[in-house]
């Protein structure tokens, strides 16, 4: 996974690996990450996810070899609605 902004700062690294079963969704990868780094749990309601250069929804399965990025709402956007497409 790659982490940006406050997420990177909270964990102290910009990249890490988490172990998840085959077919795990983005949400399940996040759960594994925040179990290892409980400091992140509070940020979940507004977390955005991306794979490659695309935003992805939390229910999308993550395939082997894909790197999931997670980060907060972007700087200029309204922060009241999580976005993905």
């Amino acid at each position: 996974m790659s982490l940006f902004a406050r997420y990177r700062e909270a964990v102290g690294r910009d990249r890490l690996e988490v172990e998840v079963p085959d077919g795990a969704t983005v949400e399940q990868v996040w759960a594994a990450l925040s179990a290892a780094h409980p400091v992140l749990a509070r940020y979940r309601p507004h977390t955005l996810f991306a794979i490659g250069n695309e935003y992805v929804p939390a229910e999308r399965p993550v395939r082997a070899g894909e790197e999931l990025a997670c980060f907060p709402p972007v700087s200029g956007g309204r922060a009241d609605v999580p976005r993905h497409r």
Partner: protein, 143 residues
Amino acid sequence: MYRVTAEPLSADALADAVTVPEAGGVVVFLGVVRDNNAGRRVVALEYEAHAPMAEAKMKEIGDAVHRRWPAVKQVMMAHRVGRLAIGEASVIVAVSAAHRHDAFEACHFAIDRLKETVPIWKREIFEDGAVWVGLQGEAPPAE
């Protein structure tokens, strides 16, 4: 040209780059670092980007502009990362079109979309601390 860079941005460079012989109007937007946010004195800003995704999202916005305003000739966007002083430009969007009305509309649309969808974050540096901007930025430290 859609670029994330640590170098200072130039309005003239982007305006020149979008100027083509058949374009009569160029609109340039510059986002500049303000000295305060909600009354608190800011001394600098730091920007961080998911650079490859940010450039891809900027290109998507440019493509959307060309679809929506066929009279637009060129679109360019550059966003700076790293530490910026008050008054420096953090982002520049330049749009050329045969007629100025299209250039204004398209540039306005592009910067609005950029601020909503391009993965770049900013941290405000105060005299006595720093905070990530946005919903989560205002949360107290996590432990």
